[in-house]
């Protein structure tokens, strides 16, 4: 059984790669080969379903791992024998992720068949999708940090390629470059974190590292280093999952084709950061978790405020994505491990649905993306509208939809966290964001689908998308209904996902570095050493969760309702004029519209700074270093002037110190060679005298 899992997952991993290779090398000759990619994805999807099923049903509690040695260096005196292992680990989280990634990837492939038709690089587009799916699956399957990092970079590459797919547009290539470089910043932190761990534990494998931590071995014998490692690895997530302050790349990434945005920049890749956090959750100390929670909360708030005023349909969705990712990160930070992952899954579905829906709208509107030019599309494209609406309800946290379950859980977690640790700011942010989300999502829906069409010409030509595009929408919308996850529409805990599949593991960090509530009540030594057992939280925590459950629910419902209401007041019934309000609050409005001026800030400081500094250095290198090593610029100029009369070689050579020196000395020697023999004789006589003075015996 476990072999089957391994083999299947290897197949799942490699199928997209095969597709990529085939399409890349043969796509030019046989344009139809893009279908290979789609078919292979389909197979992969089937396999992943099998894997999911067999894992959850037959091997629910036992994890399957397989690894091989990639690099081995024997008996090295400094660090002992080193071997770098690569391998897979399949637990429930992996299995679920496999399914989610494959499903959405497949749907997006299908969607793209129609959406991208007629593009001049049609086949290569599918190739890129293939390489992305491959890398993403690598991240999902890995059981060690190095392989994680490797595929981490590879998804970066594929995202780079896909964002810059229409590289003729400067904005596109800019966005691609920005995405890669900003991600690199996070990756550096992640890499250093990995270095710390490896230096101590001589392995990259998660479980081995955790066992050692559990047995009390700390990096460089200090909790601080453990915290640092946690935060540094988290930096990778900050980059990938577009957390503040590195979130600026994601909205720009919308330059890519819309299906790509759905797949990479909404559902899967950006979620990889959260996935990473889920993987390293057990080694996070309290300090690290607090940092993570704050970053997540703040990110979600910032993104939500920005989303309020955006007019580009994809930009709105992008910022909502950032905001939701902030939610997940925050929930990891507050210890709501299971809900984080749960929200990851649900969000993947409804956000993919939203993006694909927007794609279908854009497709219908001939690549019009400004929602102020839309309106009234409800009648023209009903299927798109209803799927879009369902997803919107889900994301706004309306009961009976998946989003409500996960968001509610997260909010409850934050509330409990606030109660236990006194960090009340985090739940406050959380609930505010819930309200804002409801508002801007419905603003989007209303402006796009309700009311009068703003641009009649475009409106006339608008039409419902063909089946291959609407089918994925339907599937995803259906997956946003609560029933798939739990029988009880208001209690996620009852659901099988959280009850049987996803368990919050016990932390392995030293007790003194954990939050009080993360400590097992019966803190016996053995319970520390074993990993991935169901967490035995402290009594207070369980109580707090129970206490928080209903307040959280009602509160979230209230703010959601409020947000929806305001949205309707403003945009549906036009009771209040948004523009007037904007005019009143001009400052805040611009602040939000311009994304808190963060891009401008970065351009002014970091980017411009680096470029200026580098050009200064280049000058320095050219003039000074070359100068100093060759005998300093000024002297150089002087010499070349001096030797200007002579052969150009000397001019050239004069730049070099030796030549300068020699030129100088040589000239002074030349003075002596007057050609008058009597002068020479004078020199001789003086020379004799001087020698006599120097070398007289006393």
């Amino acid at each position: 059984m476990s072999e089957l899992l391994i083999n299947f997952s290897i197949a799942i991993l490699l199928l997209p790669l095969v597709g990529f290779i085939i399409v890349v090398f043969l796509g030019k000759r046989f344009p139809k080969f893009y279908l290979f990619e789609v078919i292979l994805l389909g197979i992969a999807l089937v396999l992943s379903i099998i894997v999911l099923y067999s894992k959850l049903v037959y091997l629910n509690t036992t994890d399957v791992t397989a690894s091989f040695t990639w690099i081995s260096m024997s008996n090295s005196p400094a660090v002992g024998s080193i071997s770098i292992e690569l391998g897979f680990k399949i637990d429930n989280v992996t299995a679920l992720m496999l399914f989610v990634v494959n499903l959405i990837s497949f749907l997006v492939h299908v969607f793209s068949i129609e959406y991208m038709r007629g593009d001049k690089r049609y086949t290569r587009y599918f190739a890129y999708l293939g390489i992305f799916t491959f890398s993403m699956l690598g991240i999902v399957l890995t059981h060690n940090l190095l392989m994680m990092y490797i595929f981490w970079e590879l998804v970066g590459l594929s995202s780079y390629l896909l964002i810059g797919f229409w590289f003729e547009k400067k904005s596109a290539s800019d966005a691609a470059k920005k995405a890669f470089i900003v991600n690199r910043i996070g990756d550096i932190g992640m890499f250093i974190g990995i270095l710390i761990l490896f230096t101590q534990y001589k392995t990259f494998t998660f479980d081995v590292i955790y066992q050692q931590i559990a047995s009390g071995i700390l990096p460089f014998e200090s909790n601080a280093w453990l915290t640092a490692a946690g935060i540094l690895v988290f930096m990778g997530a900050v980059g990938k999952s577009a957390q503040f302050p590195l979130h600026v790349w994601l909205p720009d990434a919308m330059e890519g084709p819309t299906p790509v945005s759905a797949l990479i920049h909404a559902a899967t890749m950006v979620a990889a950061g959260v996935y990473l956090l889920v993987r390293i959750f057990v080694m996070l100390t309290a300090d690290a978790m607090l940092v993570i929670a704050v970053v997540g909360a703040f990110t979600s708030l910032v993104a939500a405020t920005i989303a309020l005023t955006q007019n580009d349909i994809k930009k709105v969705l992008a910022y909502s994505t950032v905001s939701q990712l902030g939610y997940m990160v925050m929930s990891v930070g507050v210890g709501a491990y299971a809900f984080a992952f749960f929200h990851l899954v649900t969000h993947a579905f409804f956000k993919a649905c939203l993006f694909l829906g927007s794609g279908s709208v854009i497709h219908a509107m001939h690549h019009e993306q400004d929602i102020r030019n839309m309106g009234g599309l409800k009648k023209k494209m009903p299927l798109t509208y209803y799927t879009f609406l369902i997803s919107t309800l889900a994301i706004s946290g309306v009961p009976l939809f998946s989003g409500f379950l996960s968001k509610d859980g997260i909010l409850a977690g934050t509330l409990a966290f606030g109660k236990l640790t006194g960090h009340w700011l985090i739940p406050i942010m959380g609930f505010t964001v819930a309200g804002l989300t409801a508002f801007y999502m419905f603003r989007l829906v209303i402006l796009t689908f309700h009311g009068k069409p703003a641009d009649h010409h475009k409106y006339e030509h608008a039409h419902e998308s063909p089946f291959v595009m609407t089918a994925p929408l339907v599937i995803l919308a259906v997956l946003s209904i609560f029933i798939w996850y739990t029988p009880n529409p208001i209690g996620a805990d009852a659901g099988w996902v959280l009850k049987n599949w996803i368990k919050t593991p016990t932390q392995v960090t030293p007790l003194e570095t954990r939050f009080e509530f993360m400590k097992p009540t019966n803190s016996s030594r053995d319970s520390k050493t074993e990993v991935h057992q169901e967490v035995t939280h402290s009594v207070e925590y369980t109580e707090a969760i129970h206490w928080a459950h209903y307040p959280a629910m009602f509160l979230s419902l209230a703010v959601a309702a409020l947000g929806i209401l305001i949205a309707f007041i403003f945009y549906q019934w036009k009771k209040l004029n948004a523009d007037k309000l904007a005019g009143k609050l001009k400052l805040l409005y611009n602040f939000s519209l311009n994304k808190w001026f963060l891009d401008e800030l970065y351009d002014k400081t970091a980017v411009a700074g680096t470029l200026n500094f580098s050009s200064i250095l280049a000058w320095f290198d050219n003039k000074i270093v070359d100068g100093i090593v060759n005998g300093s610029a000024a002297l150089t100029r002087f010499t070349s002037k001096m030797s200007g009369l002579f052969d150009t070689f000397v001019v050239d050579g004069a730049v070099n110190f030796t030549a300068f020196f020699s030129g100088f000395v040589g000239l002074s020697f030349k003075k002596l060679q007057t050609g008058k023999v009597q002068t020479y004789i004078v020199f001789v006589v003086f020379a004799v005298i001087i020698l006599l003075v120097f070398f007289k015996p006393f």
Partner: protein, 171 residues
Amino acid sequence: MEKKFFMNFYDIAFYLFAAITLVSALFIVTTRNIVHSAFYMLFTFFGIAGIYVLLGADFIAIVQILVYVGGILILLLFGVMLTNKITNVEIRTGTVHMLPAAIATAIFMSAVVAVMIWTEWKSEPAQIPLTTTKDIGYLLINDYVLIFELLGILLLVALIGAASIARRDKE
């Protein structure tokens, strides 16, 4: 008594010759008229010859007069005549960098004189040899025969060289 007189005569002679030598030498290097300095040279050579006599080197003195006065001086005079228009009686020569020359010479002379005075040279009670010619001849064909022959070659080479340079030939 007469010995004392002799010594005085010796001293007087020495100072006389010394004066002749040095004064004319001074004129040689200072006067602007080449012909004059050539003639002063004559006196210098005579003075040196006299000093040789005082040093008991009569043979060398004779050779000095023969070779220098009879040979080299004439050569130099010819040189002067051939390299100047005879028509203008005043054959003048300029002088170059006097100052460094003066400094150099001054320092140098002081150094040399100091050396000469403060060194305690090997000096033994000198007995004036009766005849030097025979012994010199003996030395020439015994100890110094190699050098003597070498000088022969040297003269030959000098002859060839001088001839081949000075000879006016059509080319």
